[in-house]
Amino acid sequence: MRLLLSESLVLFLSLAYFLLLAPFTPGLASYGNLKNVFSNMLPLLVVGIGQTYVLIGGGIDLSVTSIIALSSVVGGILMNSQNGVLAGTSWAVPVGVLVMLLVGIILGLLNGMAITRLTMPPFIVTLTAMMFFGGFAIWLTQSQNIRNLPAGFTALGKGYWLGIPLSLLVTVLLAALAHLLLSRSLLGRWLYATGLNARAAEVSGVPIKTVILWSYMVSGFCASAASILYTGRLETASPVLGQRIFLDVIGAAVIGGTSLFGGKGRISWTVFGVLFISLLDNSLNLLGLSNFMILMVKGTVILIAAVLDALRVRQA
């Protein structure tokens, strides 16, 4: 039981899983494949960081995939070299990136406002946001992908700096910053307090509405940052970008050990969770399982993680 409740359990599980499967799974341990696993992991991790913030605050953000999609197509509409609004200008990339991030922050703000000002449940607010903005992204582009993105932009997703992938650099930086804020800053402390017991936090002078609003803005920001990495890597802005990872985002956070009941979670846990789910995805693919089977396995694993979460809460 002690091992089951240990904080690094998921990391050990990932390693054990890898070692166990590597001999039977063709190509799992190859350099090319591992590189692929890690580069797949990065955008997912960036979204997961935002989700971790929201979950710790006692909420949930189902709208991240639509934020990714909308942010992606807005960036594409601005920057593409065929008929982009900013096509050809020298500041197309910095402005495009800023606007993409802004899209995420604003959508997060809208989510947070609806939840704190109208006191609506996060589930329904972010679910409807997912539907609305997902639809909006498709309508904007008439369901077309946008190609011909400037090289300066795609470099963010697939470029290198001193031999290090830029996307890795961005992700590590974001994760480190997110970890620092969560563990050391006032807002981080307030976020845990709010998620654990909002009433007690409020009585202690914690501005719970601001804290919750802020957590959704972080989630929106992270989703749009992930959108930049995805869009850059695929060299395509797509209105359905990110739909595939809808389940993985919350799944990864929960597998890592972040509590759906609020008040508990860590960035490092989410890193482990994302690692695990990415490995699982990849290895099952290599083993030749169909997509439906992979979904079934993932669903089972996430369920087990959620059961463990419930057990931990009950034990506490």
């Binding site: 006032l186 807002l187 009433r199 007690a200 002078g205 506490a316």
Partner: protein, 507 residues
């Protein structure tokens, strides 16, 4: 006839002994009073009786038969009812549903077992009559006062025809009138040859009700016998193991003429009406009143937890913004909640983190507002010393594992970390033992001495009389009377609290 007896009961948790060699017997129709400080082992002993915990050693006998309940359901089936300090009612269900939650009267319609609503209602009404609670059984529990909920809990115990009823701190949330009603019920239960175990910090009540008294200290029996053998001071000495000369430490300061907090005609329809008063620096101002008189709501409105429709609240002459506890904290107002479990503490956090929560903003630096943990921890450790919390348990142990008294020290301590100019203390000594009580009083006096203004809300009039410079009495949302220290008179205060209320004519 001996109804219940036990001998050499011992229990330890992870190596530390909580109960050692406990034995007593209880006759049918008698009340056994159990007293002791928080952490003395009273609750553990009762949890063993009630089937919540199992004893490590020892035997129990109920009506001569061996009794070793594996779970609360078995205890209940054997006729032992346990009324917990923390009420176990479903607030989203009706009174009648709560009363029969495990034994709904049923009828079958087309083979489907349905709840027999009419019979449920009748049975519930009968039980409510037994506890003299004139309520519609269909009313939701969330709409009842804490006192009424307590009586519902008692009615529930009566529904299973209990032979032994355990009351754990039943009066903490009752008004004095409701307490009197409870005592009458207990006397009637005894007349029906049922037995009662009565645990309370209110020693007067124990001496009034109990036939026998059992005094626990550190898990051992340090005194036992018919109540005629005991008097109040001696009980206290036995409980704490040392002499407490006075219950209230002497005041050594007088209020300053300077006003710290002023309320001008503050009203919120249906809650409080035209409340105006001045709270001076260095003053301890008491608020007396029955439950539902608006005394707690008043403090919550001042602290910005609830809204008010009219009137102004001035701190040092400047108006406070509405609905902003954060701003109140920033400007130096402290609010000690009466509900420490749900509003006072983050139960999963350790003492240090709980203590640090309020002051954290003042230790946050830079654009990222990083908390200077080392400095904050040092500050917090100093405060922990002031409220006499064991420094070895500050970190790493969740506060939910602490005794009620230590928890209350944490709730008070987290405000002491800063130096608020005004304290709003709602029931600062609820459910804590004599020793901790004295500590709390000492801290309150010390604060007043340093010029802090304190508003103390309490349902114990004696406490207010021992502590305060002035007492305001609230009744139905209004200030009904004001007493200066030299005018303090228990009866007069009580009368004002009942003034103009229907309770006065009937009680």
């Amino acid at each position: 006839m001996i109804l219940f007896e036990c001998e050499s009961i011992s229990k330890s948790f992870i190596g530390s002994t909580v109960l050692q060699d406990i034995g007593f017997s209880l006759e049918a129709g008698q009340v056994l009073g159990i007293v002791g400080e928080n952490g003395a082992g009273k609750s553990t002993l009762m949890n063993i009786l009630g089937g919540v915990l199992e004893a490590d050693t020892g035997q129990m006998r109920l009506l001569g038969e061996s009794y070793a309940p594996k779970n609360p359901a078995e205890a209940s089936a054997r006729g032992i009812a346990f009324i917990h300090q923390e009420l176990n009612l479903f607030t989203n269900l009706s009174v009648s549903e709560n009363l029969f939650i495990t034994s709904f009267p049923r009828r079958r319609i087309a083979g489907i077992g349905l709840i027999h609503r009419t019979r449920l209602r009748e049975a519930a009404s009968r039980l409510l009559d037994l506890v003299e609670l004139p309520l519609d059984p269909e009313i939701l529990v969330e709409r009842l006062s804490l006192g009424e909920r307590q009586l519902v809990e008692i009615a529930k115990a009566l529904s299973v025809d209990a032979r032994l009823i355990i009351f754990d701190e039943p009066t903490t949330s009752l008004t004095s009138r409701e307490s009197t009603r409870l005592f009458a019920i207990i006397e009637r239960l005894c007349a029906e040859r049922r037995s009662v175990v009565y645990i309370s910090h209110v020693l007067d009540d124990v001496l009034r009700l109990a036939d026998h008294v059992l005094v626990l200290r550190d898990g051992e029996i340090v005194g036992r016998g018919p109540k005629s053998q005991f008097e109040l001071g001696q009980l206290v000495t036995l409980m704490v193991g040392r002499q407490i000369e006075q219950l209230y430490p002497p005041r050594c300061s007088v209020p300053s003429p300077e006003v710290a907090l002023e309320l001008k005609e503050v009203s919120q329809p249906g809650i409080i009406e035209n409340i105006s008063f001045h709270l001076h620096k260095g003053e301890i101002l008491g608020i007396a009143g029955l439950m539902g008189s608006g005394r707690s709501e008043l403090a919550r409105i001042v602290f910005g937890l609830e809204t008010h429709a009219r009137g102004t609240i001035l701190l040092n002459g400047k108006p406070l913004p509405p609905r902003s506890p954060k701003e109140c904290v920033r400007r130096g107002i402290a609010f000690l909640t009466e509900n420490r479990r749900e509003e006072g503490l983050l139960m999963d956090w350790d003492i240090a983190r709980n203590l640090a929560l309020v002051q954290a903003p003042f230790y946050a630096r830079g654009p990222a507002r990083l908390i200077r943990d080392a400095a904050l921890l040092e500050r917090v450790a100093g405060t922990a010393g002031k409220v006499r919390l064991d420094p070895s348990i500050l970190q790493g142990m969740a506060v939910k594992a602490l005794s009620g008294g230590n928890q209350q020290k944490v709730v008070l301590g987290k405000w002491l970390v800063g130096n608020p100019a005004v304290y709003l203390l709602d029931e600062p000594t609820r459910g804590i033992d004599v020793g901790t009580r004295y500590e709390v009083y000492r801290i309150i006096n010390q604060l007043a001495f340093t010029g802090t203004a304190l508003l103390v809300i309490s349902s114990e009039i004696e406490e207010l009389m021992g502590l305060c410079d002035r007492i305001l009495v609230m009744c139905r949302g209004e200030i009904a009377a004001s007493f200066e220290r030299e005018q303090f008179d228990r009866e007069a205060i009580l009368r004002s609290a009942l003034w103009n209320s229907h309770e006065f004519s009937s009680g």
